[in-house]
Every structure is written in structure tokens, then in C-alpha cells.
């Protein structure tokens, strides 16, 4: 509408609410704007974004041995740990974002922590390839995902004890990293792709993203009865008509 354009051109249009203009200098009042914040974007299940098909299969198999399925609780694969890891590696975590990645890269003592370039992506890339290569060489051409559960466990125990060495990757370091990531995915909020339906939280009795326990702090040695809730809510949040 003409008048509005004239208006906007002629006069500095500022929010009628009187929120402080915040462009690096804050004074006078606490800043505020509507719809503020950086809420997380829940992971959507679907095709692999980071892994190849073979890598994905290997990670699912790893997840199911690290956290095997049982009648009470799904295993790592069905609870979504591989999906979690795929999305994590596709994001800032996989790119080592925020880490100090300037040269020179030198080998240090254990206390000095990780010192190599592209820490995470390289660990997974080389590790998964080396794992499958080892299995194919030692198990009649079968990749890790194709082995029996017992054989898988034997391979993993071998990596852990360093009795099995991988070619082109540090097997123990790789497996340690996978355990860490798969277990994190198992226990993280379901919005990240793992812990589907909050299965791990139900398993242990963790009520999730609740915030008010004022009516429970004094109730010592009693089982907390409310179901877990995720940052995306729970099924009871939607009216059942």
C-alpha cells in the first residue's frame, strides 16, 4: 500500500514494543525480541546423510553389539543409535567444528589429548573401512555386519584388548570412540535420532527433560512414577480424540 511505503521510507520504523536495539551495544534495558532462541531441530529418520550404505550397516551392527537387544529394551540399532551417529557426523561434530585445528600437528603424550587433524571423521572413515577389510580377510569374505553375533563380539573383544590390529587404523582407539558415541546416542534426547521413544530412559528410570521436582525432593527412597518426557514432548501431549 502506498502510504505504508512512504511511511517506511520516510521514518525509521522501529518495533512498537520498545525493545532495545541490539547491534553489539546494550544499554538501557534487557534486550528482547519475539520468537527468540535457538531451539533444536529434531532429526528426521530416513536415508543416511553421512554414511555410505556399507558404513551404515557396519555401524548398525556395531551398535547392536555394544547395546544388544533384549526382551525389555531394544538394542542400539532399533533404538536409532546409528541414525544418531550419522546425523552427528554430518553436522558440526563430524567436522570438528570449534576445535583448535591450527598447525603444527605433533604427536604428544597421552595427557595432552588428541593432536591429529580431522579427529572424528578420520577415525570413522578409516576405522569402518579397516574393520570390514579385516573381517573379509579373516571371515571368509564377510563384512562385519554379516558375521554371527558371537563372531562380531570376538572381533570387538580383540580390538579392545589389541590382540587384533587393524590395517590403516588404530582399532582400539576406533572402537573406544564408537562405544562412546553409540552410548551417547542411546542416552541422548530422542530429538537427536537415538533413544527412540525414550527407550533407554524407560530402561533406567530417568524422567527426561522435566524441570520441576519441588513436590519430590522430600520423598526419599520412593520410585518416581511419571513417564519420561523429551524436548519434543511425549505422546500424552497430544489430545486423544
Amino acid at each position: 500500500m502506498l502510504h505504508r511505503r512512504e511511511l517506511l521510507a520516510g521514518v525509521a520504523w522501529l518495533a512498537l514494543s520498545g525493545a532495545a536495539a541490539h547491534a553489539g551495544l546494550i544499554s538501557g534495558r534487557l534486550p528482547w525480541e519475539p520468537n527468540a532462541g535457538h531451539p533444536p531441530d529434531p532429526v528426521r529418520p530416513g536415508r543416511w546423510i553421512y554414511f555410505t550404505g556399507q558404513e551404515g550397516a557396519a555401524v548398525e551392527a556395531l551398535a547392536d553389539r555394544i547395546i544388544p537387544p533384549d526382551p525389555g529394551t531394544p538394542g542400539g540399532k532399533d533404538s536409532g543409535c546409528a541414525v544418531y551417529l550419522d546425523r552427528q557426523l554430518a553436522g558440526p561434530y563430524g567436522r570438528d567444528e570449534g576445535l583448535y585445528m591450527r598447525a603444527p600437528f605433533m604427536k604428544g603424550i597421552k595427557q595432552q589429548g588428541p593432536q591429529s587433524q580431522s579427529v572424528i571423521a578420520k577415525t570413522y572413515g578409516s576405522g569402518l573401512a579397516a574393520l570390514d577389510k579385516y573381517c573379509q580377510s579373516n571371515h571368509a569374505g564377510k563384512r562385519f555386519a554379516e558375521l554371527t553375533d558371537n563372531d562380531k563380539d570376538e572381533v570387538l573383544k580383540g580390538l579392545e584388548s589389541e590382540k587384533i590390529k587393524l590395517e590403516g587404523a588404530d582399532g582400539k582407539k576406533f572402537f573406544t570412540q564408537v562405544i562412546k558415541d553409540v552410548q551417547a546416542g542411546f542416552f541422548a534426547d530422542p530429538i537427536y535420532g537415538g533413544n527412540r521413544d525414550m527407550v533407554s530412559w524407560k530402561m533406567i528410570g530417568f524422567p527426561g527433560a522435566r524441570y520441576n521436582y519441588l513436590d519430590w525432593i522430600d520423598r526419599h527412597n520412593e520410585r518416581f512414577p511419571l513417564p519420561p518426557v523429551s524436548l519434543a514432548g511425549r505422546i500424552d501431549w497430544t489430545p486423544k480424540r
Binding site: G37, G98, Y100, Q183
Partner: protein, 591 residues
């Protein structure tokens, strides 16, 4: 070429606890104050709301609220003979970033140091003789006493609404409090927080063993509270997402919930966020600060002139700025000369896990706050006779478990496999019936070979040298850790644990395991210019219009969380600025 801004009376580098305390004091004095903060503005409804603050992965594992090593980091080595390498990802400590600093995501454990802590060198020498102390231990007296700081501890506690049970009011020992604490002029402003089952049980077990257990002083509110500035907080709801996280419901004391609403309304105060101070500027003689240079988010360089410069950027960054700005003589460990970087310390942390019969014990670990817990102080400082033990120092023992967040708190008995069906079952069986991380919060005294300086190789994003940490554990601290962990173990057993797992701190110092962010020293306060960077008012000996806040002033670290003492020193220094310095700018203490 830096663009020059209009002059201000005061420029404050960093806007965390000390930045806010000093800004509030000096604006009350009528001065025109600007704060420059490297990180972003932060506030509960916009940055840690109830809709997503409770995200363990995002905030505890991926460290979203903290400084990114990419932005700046340190290099580390254990010994001078080694080559320091960069800390590429944080582990041992988590440097803060943003308005509010560590005050946004701290536990809110709010302690006072002991009277003897401030005169440690004198006290220990008198009691045990100089020969009792290791030859390379460089502990010092502070130049202030507990009595000097008492009113300022009180001011901070009433600012924060600290919740606790007083143990010593004006010399009278009070039941239920800490009998070892220095005398306080009045009780805490709020009663202690409520305890969870495990915390209460630990407190009871400690009592039955003859110790005087008391609730940990907490900056998480036990009830709604309006502080002396008129700022209001709500009651803590024991959500279990406290430390590492921002508080979504205004119940954790932070600069945001105690000072900023009032400070920001003052016409003589402003803050620039997302702007990093790169240098303190001085005159040609190097004896007078003229202001600071900073770089904003778009990379533009500016100069902010001011009559008074306050460094409030966190202990380590304060020291780094002094080194980079060539203020004060850098410490040389070989020659034992110089002061900037000297007496660097951390905290010596140990713990005990306890495993209980799940059919009899349900601890609901997820119902907790960051500063909940029962504590005993019998083994802190010099509260016990060290003669038979061959070490000095100590720490408080506590069960202060703050959460049951599952990625990090699925403790299983030792020797449980790290993966597989047995692991899975052990996690499920133990989650609700485990005491995880009952703790020893041990002192860390200072030594000749633990120090800070500038790294010769690695640079930050501006091309400036990173600061280098040379740090390892000495026998003194490790002996103390072993002894105290054994004592703690006894208490956990007395709770009724069927199995305990002792985890005393062992060397070498490791940059990958978290050990609190209580890094101290490097710009210590004292009475002798040869061994301190600051006088007793936190004024630089070298540049009288420069005051340096923070735990960098600690000549050694005591067995307590530092924030209470950091804040008390800030109030003490601000008072000296208001009542003495402004009337007659210049050195407040004859060199």
C-alpha cells in the same frame, strides 16, 4: 588502524561476576562505565529456556555455552622439559564465554576460604616449621585477611541469596553448620536447600562417624528471594540440569539473575558483546593504561580509551592479556624471577562411587541441584594435625551429586565390561541405586615449576601467541588425595554401600579429564612486588590505573570452590577504588 571511540571513565574487560560487581559499584559512584565482552549476551528466556535447556548432549557433551578452542585455547605440558601442545578440545576445564561468564553455568557452590588460608605461609611455618613444607612449594600470604574480606563475602552472599546453615556467627558455633568456618557477621540470607535421599544419607553416615556434617552453601534458591538491589529470583526446582547449563527459571544466582537487570538500566553503563579485547594499551613508559584495543564480530579493530581499566576476563585470560600487553615482568622458572605467570594452580579432585542394593535404595539422582549436598570440613585446610601425615592442605568431603543425566551418569561397578549385554544390564540395575562421585574437593598449592607463559609456536586467530600451561601434580597433593579419599570411602561404606570404588587423584596431570574450572594464580596479590603482580587491593604494582580481578590473584588454591572468594575480592577492590583511588589516583600501597 584502530578506530578510536569516545573516552569513558572506566573500561571493564569481560562481563562475568567480577565485571558486573565492579561495574555496579563504579556506576553507583557516578562514573561512565563500558564493559567489553568477548562472547554473546545471554539471558534465560532467549538462551536457556525451559523448552530446550535440558539437553545433556548439547550443553554438557558438546559444550555449547563455553568458549570454543577455535576462538582461543592454551597449550599444555607437564614439565618444562617437554614441548607444549595445544588443547585442541577442552577436557580438564571449561573456560567460560559470554555475558555472565562462568556465573551462567556454574554449580553455585558458594564458599568462603578459611582464615588460615589467607596467611597460609605464616600459619603453616609457625605450626609445622619451614622444613615441613616442600622446598619448591611457593605458597604465600595474600596481603588481606579473612576479617578484611568478611563484609564482602557477606555482600556477595546477600546479593546471591546464598542458602546455607551458618556454623559460626560472631564467634558462636551454631549447630548444623560448619564449625570450622571463619566467623560470619550474620547468618545466610536463605535456609539451606533441601537434600535428596543419598545426600541426606551421607550426611547422616558422616555424623554417625563423628563428623559435623552440614549442607553445602548453595546459590540455587531454597525459596523465592529479592536481593538488596531489588532483583528477584524464584525457588530452585531441583531439575538436575544445573552446572554446564543455564538456569531456565531464574533460580540460580548469576550475574543475569542478581545484577544485570539493575545495571543495564543505568544511563552510565553500556556493554559491547561479541567483542574481544586484544590488548591493554599503555603510555610510552608503560606505567599508565590508556585504554584497550578490541576487535568486534566483523573483525574491525577499535580502541576504547579510559581513565581506569579493570581486567575481569577470567583468571587465565587476565594473565594472558598482561603477558601480551607486556605489563609486569613475566615469570622465569629457571631464574625464579618475574611475577606474571607465577604460582599457577588448579584443584585436586578425587571421588568415591558407591553401589547399593537396588531393592533397598532408590536415590532418584535426577532430582538435584548444582550445589546440593552434605559436606564435612574436618579435613580441609589446616583443620587437622598434618604432622603425622607428611603433607599440607586438604579439602572438603561431600556427597554433592548434582544430577542423573544418563550420558555421563550411568555408573557401573568396576570390572563391568564397557559394552554388551552385561554392560546394558549393569546400567539398568545400578542407575537408581548408585552414589556417583562423592567427592574430595582438594587444595592445590603453588610450586616453582607450575606456571604460565606465552607459547613460542602456537597462535590464536589474531596471530597472537597462545598462553602455555606447565602443570603437574606434586606428591603433596597426591598424598592428600589418597588420604582424604580413604576417609571419604569410609563414609560411603557407612551409608550402607555393598561396594565402593575409590578414585583418588593420580598423576600425571591430564588435560583430558575434567577437574573443575578453578584455575588460579598467574597474577597473584601480595605485599611484595618481587613475588606478586598485584597489591592487596588487586591494583597492578606496575600500572596503577589497572586493577585485575579474578582468581588469578590467588597465591595458591584452597580446598573450596573459588567464586565466593573471587567475588569478595572484587567488592573489596571496588571499595578501595571508590573510597581511596578515585579521590587520589595513584598507587594505593607503597611499593
Amino acid at each position: 588502524m584502530a578506530r578510536i571511540l569516545p573516552k569513558k571513565d572506566v573500561v571493564i574487560v569481560g562481563l562475568g561476576w567480577t565485571g558486573c560487581i565492579v561495574a555496579n559499584e563504579l556506576t553507583d559512584e557516578g562514573l561512565d562505565v563500558i564493559a567489553i565482552e568477548r562472547g554473546p549476551w545471554r539471558d534465560a528466556p532467549t538462551d536457556f529456556p525451559t523448552t530446550y535447556a535440558q539437553d545433556e548432549l548439547r550443553y554438557h557433551i558438546r559444550h555449547e555455552l563455553f568458549l570454543r578452542p577455535d576462538q582461543t585455547t592454551f597449550t599444555f605440558r607437564n614439565k618444562t622439559s617437554q614441548t607444549a601442545l595445544p588443547i585442541r578440545t577442552w577436557g580438564a576445564f571449561m573456560p567460560p564465554n559470554g555475558v555472565g561468564g562462568g556465573g551462567v553455568h556454574w554449580n553455585a557452590e558458594t564458599w568462603r576460604f578459611l582464615p588460615s588460608d589467607f596467611v597460609l605461609k605464616t600459619h603453616l611455618t609457625q605450626r609445622y616449621g619451614a622444613a615441613f613444607l616442600p622446598e619448591d612449594m611457593t605458597i604465600q600470604d595474600w596481603g588481606v585477611t579473612y576479617e578484611d574480606l568478611e563484609p564482602h563475602y557477606d555482600a556477595f552472599e546477600y546479593l546471591c541469596g546464598t542458602c546455607g546453615t551458618a556454623g559460626n556467627v560472631k564467634g558462636k558455633i551454631m549447630e548444623g553448620g560448619n564449625p570450622f568456618e571463619g566467623a560470619r557477621s550474620r547468618p545466610y540470607p536463605n535456609p539451606a536447600q533441601k537434600q535428596g535421599f543419598a545426600h541426606a544419607l551421607w550426611g547422616k553416615a558422616a555424623r554417625e562417624l563423628g563428623y559435623k556434617s552440614f549442607p553445602q552453601p548453595s546459590g540455587n534458591m531454597s525459596r523465592a528471594y529479592t536481593n538488596p538491589l531489588g532483583v528477584r529470583m524464584g525457588p530452585c526446582t531441583y531439575c538436575g540440569f544445573c552446572e554446564w547449563f543455564g538456569c531456565a527459571n531464574y533460580s540460580k544466582a548469576s550475574p543475569q539473575t542478581t545484577i544485570l537487570p539493575v545495571l543495564v538500566r543505568k544511563s552510565n553503563f553500556s556493554v559491547r558483546d561479541n567483542s574481544e579485547v586484544t590488548k591493554i594499551n599503555t603510555d610510552r613508559a608503560g606505567k599508565h593504561a590508556t585504554g584497550v584495543t578490541f576487535v568486534d564480530a566483523s573483525g574491525t579493530e577499535w580502541e576504547q580509551p579510559a581513565d581506569l581499566v579493570i581486567l575481569a576476563a577470567y583468571s587465565m585470560f587476565n594473565v594472558q592479556l598482561l603477558l601480551l600487553s607486556k605489563i609486569g615482568q613475566p615469570y622465569d622458572p629457571a631464574a625464579n624471577t618475574g611475577v606474571i605467570g607465577r604460582n599457577f594452580t588448579h584443584q585436586c579432585m578425587s571421588s568415591v562411587n558407591g553401589f547399593f542394593d537396588k531393592s533397598k535404595f532408590n536415590f532418584n539422582p535426577f532430582i538435584s541441584s548444582g550445589a546440593i549436598g552434605m559436606t564435612i570440613d574436618e579435613f580441609n585446610g589446616d583443620n587437622f594435625d598434618h604432622g603425622p601425615h607428611g603433607f599440607v592442605g586438604g579439602g572438603y568431603l561431600t556427597h554433592a551429586q548434582t544430577n542423573g543425566r544418563p550420558i555421563t551418569t550411568t555408573t557401573v561397578p568396576p570390572d563391568t565390561p564397557k559394552w554388551g549385554a552385561a554392560w546394558k544390564k549393569a546400567v539398568a540395575d545400578n542407575y537408581l541405586s548408585t552414589v556417583t562421585g562423592a567427592g574430595v574437593h582438594g587444595s592445590f598449592y603453588s610450586y616453582r615449576d607450575i606456571y604460565l607463559d606465552l607459547d613460542p609456536t602456537y597462535k590464536d586467530r589474531f596471530g597472537r601467541p597462545l598462553m602455555r600451561m606447565t602443570i603437574d601434580f606434586h606428591d603433596n597433593e597426591l598424598k592428600a588425595a589418597a588420604y582424604l579419599t580413604d576417609k571419604l570411602d569410609e563414609i560411603v561404606k557407612a551409608m550402607g554401600a555393598k561396594q565402593t570404588q575409590k578414585k583418588p587423584r593420580k598423576g600425571p596431570y591430564d588435560i583430558t579429564t575434567y577437574q573443575t574450572t578453578h584455575l588460579n594464580g598467574g597474577a597473584v596479590m601480595g605485599t611484595d612486588r618481587k613475588t606478586s603482580a598485584l597489591n592487596r587491593y588487586l591494583q597492578s604494582w606496575d600500572v596503577p590505573n589497572l586493577f585485575v580481578m579474578g582468581a588469578g590473584a590467588f597465591p595458591q588454591n584452597a580446598g573450596y570452590n573459588p567464586t565466593g572468594t573471587v567475588a569478595a575480592l572484587a567488592y573489596w577492590s571496588a571499595k578501595a577504588i571508590r573510597e581511596q583511588y578515585l579521590k587520589k589516583p595513584g598507587p594505593l600501597v607503597d611499593a
